[in-house]
């Protein structure tokens, strides 16, 4: 019953999306004003219906209704509650329903709250949103129905892939999806503004919270995914330049560029066509990302439940939407009038530099990710990894970070270099000193980590400078947001560079009672014993770790064996100190009875994820500041209107 309800509601929502598109198109034509009032309620209703459908699917998974094909294929009655819940989106159909749900709900929210945009632009935006979601409704309803019943109920579910049975699954995919889909709203705004020839500050201000929100979620999703891969894969690495990781990084890069160019458009009415173009690119990258993840066309450790046919469907959607948007852009770009001008030394110019460098990085990552596909057409199988991505992207990223020293200190429109030279000298000097110190004290470190440490330290200091000389209580929240986010980038860079420069590894075969030294830490294998969990059994190693004479800490790395479905997973154990992290992995038992153990001491590596969270926090502060500002303005506007009405009455 629940499954039928979910499916029926989903069909109704798709029908409403058709209506929403139709009403929007008619309303924008001359004489179609009668339809204008319909579009907003349709968008809201559509959001509500899809949400009901998604709740129905969650309910099926929580109950483990084995008459439903998707549940039988992906869930298991013995699975812990949180994984039953997360299993809803841990598969293809469920994750596409999540995608449509987020898309329709954000459309509903736009319809509900957006008041500043010109009405015709808003209607064009909502029609665009309906058009984009229709493709995904078709995909879901025609080729991946999540509510399909089995002719005969399965006796038991097939379970969830052991690698996915992790708390990370509950958070990582939904946050990334919210980010991906949030960019679809930016895309729709860009289309709407192009259609009604309304590319201007109002459009940028309406779009900015959505870009900011999507960007925050992408940042959290990438940070959480990186940490998840770090502790769950047992390789001790935090970024593998895997196609699927790149698929989340590319929309982030585009969204970061869009965020900055939208802020130029909103405050200074410049970079108009550029911002619209970035809106299109950002969502294209989301779709490319979904395509790479879902099609399995590239070899990836993330390749769970992939299906080439579905890949071609997404590729077709990609071609229709992005091709259409680019064509529209080509036709209308000439009607986008040129914005305000600025000098070569100004805040705008520094943001243009930031945008160009981000797009360059994006191009590097995109080409590297797709290169194996291109060579495969010629019969050569290649894979592209860190030896390509690290140095080549650094060529764009390091200059951009150096520009971040200066950019936030500049004035809009035109500035004089002499005004800020003395201020910028401080972080530049720090960078030089750190560089010199690293080169002298640790000469055998490679060039990229060395540069990373120096620039990271300089950036962390430089990011605080925009607060200099301000009244800290009266500084707007959005400025704090920028400061915190830039500071976070510096911190993350420090963590990443320190990890790759100073990590020490110890791999050894140990008897119970043996000790090993890894960096400053002495580890001792105390015991190995079997333990059992709800749906797994494991070998559990008891390891004590002592940091230079401090009290010993006990860790429990495990090798887990899952029963439903069968599978194995190493469960690493972490010991975090303020100055680094010990990472312990239990391997196989050798023929001589010794146990393979692997330890890393990674100095300051937690700074990496802390930095990522700071970046997200910065985005959140900025969003809060913007929204509070808008609410205040709306209230003030309401008061003025009320007073005017009173005045009229009195007259």
């Amino acid at each position: 019953m629940i499954a039928e309800l979910g499916l029926a509601v989903l069909w109704m929502a798709a029908a409403l999306a058709v209506l929403q598109l139709f009403a929007g198109v008619v309303a924008l034509r001359p004489g179609g004003a009668a339809m204008t009032g319909l579009v907003r309620p349709l968008a809201i209703m559509q959001g509500v219906l899809v949400a009901i459908s998604f709740l129905a699917l969650i309910d099926l998974f929580l109950e483990t209704d084995l008459t439903v094909k998707l549940v039988a294929a992906n869930s298991h009655s013995m699975k812990p509650f949180i994984f039953k819940l997360a299993g809803t989106w841990g598969n293809h159909e469920g994750s596409m329903l999540l995608w449509v749900t987020i898309m329709a709900m954000s459309g509903g929210i736009v319809a509900l709250v957006e008041k500043r945009l010109r009405e015709d632009t808003l209607i064009a935006t909502l029609a665009g949103q309906a058009f984009v979601s229709l493709g995904f409704y078709a995909f879901l309803l025609l080729s991946s129905n999540p509510f399909e019943r089995l002719a005969e109920p399965a006796p038991e579910g097939a379970g969830l892939n052991p690698l996915l049975q992790d708390i990370g699954l509950a958070f990582h995919p939904p946050t990334l999806y919210i980010g991906y889909v949030g960019l679809s709203v930016a895309f729709s705004f860009a289309i709407g503004a192009l259609v009604t020839r309304d590319v201007g500050p109002a459009f940028a201000r309406a779009m900015r919270p959505w870009v900011l929100g999507a960007w925050i979620f992408l940042t959290i999703g990438i940070t959480a995914g990186s940490y998840w891969a770090y502790y769950t894969l047992g390789w001790g690495g935090w970024w593998f330049w895997d196609p699927v990781e790149n698929a989340s990084l590319m929309p982030w890069l585009a969204a970061t560029a869009l965020l900055h160019s939208a802020s130029v458009l909103a405050s200074r009415n410049a970079l108009r066509a550029w911002t619209v173009m970035l809106g299109v690119i950002a969502f294209s990258m989301s779709m490319v990302g979904t395509f790479l993840v879902r099609s399995g066309i590239l070899t990836s450790v993330h390749a769970f439940a992939v299906d080439p046919e579905r890949g071609s469907f997404i590729l077709a959607l990609l071609a229709v939407y992005i091709g259409g948007a680019l064509a529209l852009f080509g036709i209308r770009a000439s009607t986008v009038t040129e914005g305000e001008r600025f000098s070569l030394f100004s805040r705008e110019a520094s943001l243009v530099f930031n945008n160009v460098m981000l797009c360059g990085t994006l191009a590097i990552v995109l080409l590297g990710t797709l290169y194996p596909l291109m060579t495969e057409a010629f019969g050569a199988k290649v894979s592209v990894g860190p030896p390509y991505f690290n140095p080549v992207s650094a060529i764009f990223v390091i200059p951009m970070m150096l520009a971040m020293f200066v950019g936030p200190l500049l004035r809009w429109r035109h500035d004089k270099p002499g005004r800020i030279t003395a201020v910028v000298a401080v972080p530049v000097l720090l960078t030089a000193v750190v560089l010199l110190a690293v080169v002298l004290l640790a000469p055998d470190i490679r060039i990229l980590p060395t540069l990373g440490i120096a620039v990271g330290a300089g950036l962390a200091l430089a990011s605080l400078l925009p607060l200099r000389g301000r009244n800290l209580r009266r500084t707007p929240l959005s400025v704090y947001g920028m400061v915190v986010a830039h500071f976070g980038i510096g911190v993350a860079l420090l963590g990443a560079a320190s990890e790759s420069a100073f990590s020490t590894e110890r791999l050894a075969a140990m008897n119970v009672g043996d000790t090993q030294q890894v960096g400053p830490i002495t580890v001792k294998l105390v015991n190995i014993s079997p333990v059992a969990g709800p749906n797994w059994t494991a070998l559990d190693a008891t390891v004590t770790a002592t940091y230079e004479g401090a009290a010993a800490v006990t860790l429990h790395p495990q090798a887990r064996t899952f029963s439903s479905p069968p599978g194995e997973r190493t469960e690493s154990a972490l010991y975090t100190r303020w100055n680094g992290q010990l990472y312990a992995v239990l391997g196989n038992e050798g023929e001589d009875g010794r146990w393979q153990m692997r330890f890393w001491w990674k100095p300051f590596v937690p700074l990496l994820w802390l930095g990522g969270l700071l970046v997200a926090l910065g985005g959140f502060l900025a969003l809060l500041g913007r929204v509070a500002h808008d609410v205040r303005r709306l209230r003030a506007g309401g008061k003025i209107a009320y007073r005017k009405a009173r005045l009229e009455q009195i007259k």
């Binding site: 690698l163 550029w274 040129e338 070569l344 191009a363 894979s383 030896p387 050894a508 190493t570 992995v585």
Partner: protein, 155 residues
């Protein structure tokens, strides 16, 4: 407003200048990527290819094939293993230091990431069939091409 100095560029050309900068950066990125990719991409080899057309020493490559039965030996340190990867036509000795993946066993397929040093392949990382849902795609291709050899080896 429009009288602001723009560093010697006529204000009316600003949009053009922006466009040129953006295009130059993108083309630069493209050329850079093309150059770096041709040098840094790691190619996939089976033992026969490796014998016929050996890559330069130390270049990152990947080697795919079957772990020969009876070839797997653990060294005295307990963490370094030697084994032979074969494809029915050629055999390559492989050394790996680390914890092997769970499903890495003699007689099954493997993809090793690493480089040639002398006549031996030094692996930094081993990819074995993880579970039913994750098979390195190259391994799928490889086993298909050498299905007969595999059957012969495993029987």
């Amino acid at each position: 407003m429009n009288q602001i100095k723009t560093g010697g560029i006529k204000p009316k050309h600003q949009r053009l200048v922006l466009l040129v900068i953006a295009l130059a950066a993108l083309i630069g990125a493209g050329l850079l990527a093309a150059y770096a990719l041709s040098n840094q991409a790691s190619y996939f080899y089976v033992p026969a290819d490796l014998m016929k057309d050996p890559p330069e020493q130390g270049r990152a490559i990947r080697l795919g094939g079957m772990v020969e039965k009876g070839s797997l030996k653990t060294r005295a340190d307990g963490v370094t293993i030697d084994f032979v990867v074969g494809d029915g036509k050629a055999r390559i000795p492989v050394r790996f230091t680390g914890i092997t993946p769970d499903l890495f066993v003699e007689g099954s397929g493997v993809v090793a990431e690493g480089r040639m040093e002398g006549q031996a392949f030094i692996a930094d990382n081993l990819l074995a069939k993880h579970d039913e849902n994750y098979v390195p795609r190259q391994m799928g291709d490889m086993t298909e091409a050498q299905a007969k050899a595999v059957v012969a080896e495993t029987q």
